[in-house]
Amino acid sequence: MKECNALVKDNRQVAQDTCLMTLACEFSPFTPGQFLMLRLTGTCEPFLRRPLAVLSYREGAVELLYKVIGRGTSLLAGTKKGEELSVLGPLGKGFSDPRPEEEAVYIAGGTGLPPILAMAERTGRGRLIIGARTKDDIPLWQRMQNIGDVEVTTTTEDGSLGIRGVATQALGDVLKTIQQPCMIYACGPAGMLKQAARLAQDFGARCEVSIEERMACGFGVCSACVVRTTTGNQRVCTQGPVFDASCIEWGQ
């Protein structure tokens, strides 16, 4: 992990309230699921950095796909090519690779797309399930159609694209069609992760989830972003954000 100032090479809207930013910085090696903590330079406001999962890292350029939700991400969305951001990273523990005999199944909902897409692009194989509220919420549609041998299924709640419904329904349907052992990768709302974990159990699949929790530091000192696991509280930022789904105490 290191701290550096990184030049914004590109920053543009790619879907409703969703931006894709490219930063010039050296962050090798990188594992999908890992994230960066970003802040504006030359100002104390906003006070805390924002954690963003890395979409890709290649030849000194980091891609970040992020949803514009509050004040911090709005300010990030407003940064222009040539401006600098302060970056801390790469942080956290990423996804593990699928075993050669395993079929990889990726499922993303809400703000969970970046690490999932990163993983699909890394392996270049498997089934990718994207869940969104509506068609306009889905970024990088063309790019997702062209990832090696990855087969994409889309669900929208309003039926404007792909299957009408939620991503976990599609996950159940996909799992039914697969004969070989499966490795599920999930990132999204807590309810979706819990359901993915349950389906993994039902189908005897392995499952890794990337957990989202509000953070302050991102490097393990403040103990803000804890998640309950079978071995007690774990810090999402350093012991995660990727966890084996069977270790998480999902609660109600």
Binding site: E3, E45, F47, L48, G72, C217, F219, C222, S223, C225
Partner: protein, 303 residues
């Protein structure tokens, strides 16, 4: 140039910059980013007799120029701390200040006894905790209770004893004197400020614990006033804690009467800030022809 600062008999820091409790964990993560030996001292996360799980999430929330936290004093407990964390801190050339708290007087005393060991440079008492046996009033809110607690802890340890005062009192000077008379060697001013934040969309509090402690630049002017007030009344050294983000802030706290400064929330945002603040302080002294840090401490020019 002399930037050493004396906090107690047997406790002299090589420079006046320390980490603050709760934002530095037990030093391991920061040690991977910079050499902890550059610090005047490390103040550990608050330790209790038994491990503590802490509060439900969300535990933090950003606010204007600062943040709220309600971590709930999650920690591994004193025995695990001594076995697993203290030896590592001992490998650095810096003072190790162990922050601790209890739920009743006996627990504070027991903690002080357990921490009266090699490797601990000083202990910092958090008195902003509810006294379980006295109906939940904070130890730090009643001068008599505070005085008695400090006196009991004083008798139980040979270590320099620092009392971290609660800012939520009517007369902070009175609390400072109560701690001083109880035998405190130094005072940390002060702790976070009880506060809250609400999400107007969900109608819910932003923290799992509903309320939390406010810290960061937002509280600095209040902390500055507290340091000034306490250092005028108490005879013992004061350690400032509250919104330090730069060497300028550090100088201001020294002028107000602090002998050292702790850096807390800002190091969550900028983990490498410590070196720059120490260097800035040295440059400030050079630029102003100052030979010793004591030429700044408490030298506020008032009309």
């Amino acid at each position: 140039m002399d930037i050493t600062t004396r906090l107690a008999p047997g406790l002299c820091l090589k420079n006046p910059v320390l980490s603050a409790s709760g934002t530095f964990a037990y030093g391991e993560e920061f040690s991977r980013m910079f050499d902890l030996s550059l610090l005047g001292g490390v103040v550990t996360k608050g330790i209790s007799l038994h491990s503590k799980e802490g509060n439900p999430t969300p535990r933090v929330c950003e606010t204007s120029c600062g943040m709220l936290n309600a971590i709930g004093l999650e920690n591994i407990g004193v025995d695990a701390f001594i076995a697993q964390k203290l030896p590592f801190l001992g490998t650095f050339d810096t003072e190790v200040v162990v922050n601790f708290f209890g739920t009743d007087e006996d627990e504070y005393v027991h903690m002080a006894q357990k921490l009266d060991i090699e490797g601990v440079s000083a202990i910092e008492m958090n008195v902003s905790c509810p006294n379980i046996k006295k109906g939940g009033i904070e130890f730090g809110k009643d001068p008599q209770i505070l005085n008695r607690l400090v006196a009991q802890v004083r008798k139980s340890t040979t270590k320099p004893l620092i009392v971290k005062l609660s800012p939520m009192v009517t007369h902070i000077g009175e609390m400072a004197l109560a701690a001083q008379e109880g035998g405190a060697d130094a005072l940390t001013c002060s702790n976070t400020f009880p506060a809250m934040a609400i999400d107007e969309n969900t109608w819910k509090p932003m923290l799992g614990n509903i309320t939390g402690g406010l810290s960061g630049p937002a509280v600095k002017p209040i902390a500055l006033r507290i340091v000034w007030e306490v250092s005028r009344q108490a005879a013992i050294p004061v350690i400032a804690s509250g919104g330090v983000t730069s060497w300028r802030d550090a100088v201001q706290f020294l002028l107000a009467g602090a002998s050292a400064v702790e850096i807390g929330s800002f190091s969550l945002r900028d983990p490498l800030c410590f070196g720059g603040i120490i260097q800035g302080l040295i440059r400030y002294m050079q630029d102003n022809g100052l030979e010793s840090i004591t030429e700044i401490i408490g030298k506020l020019r008032t009309p």
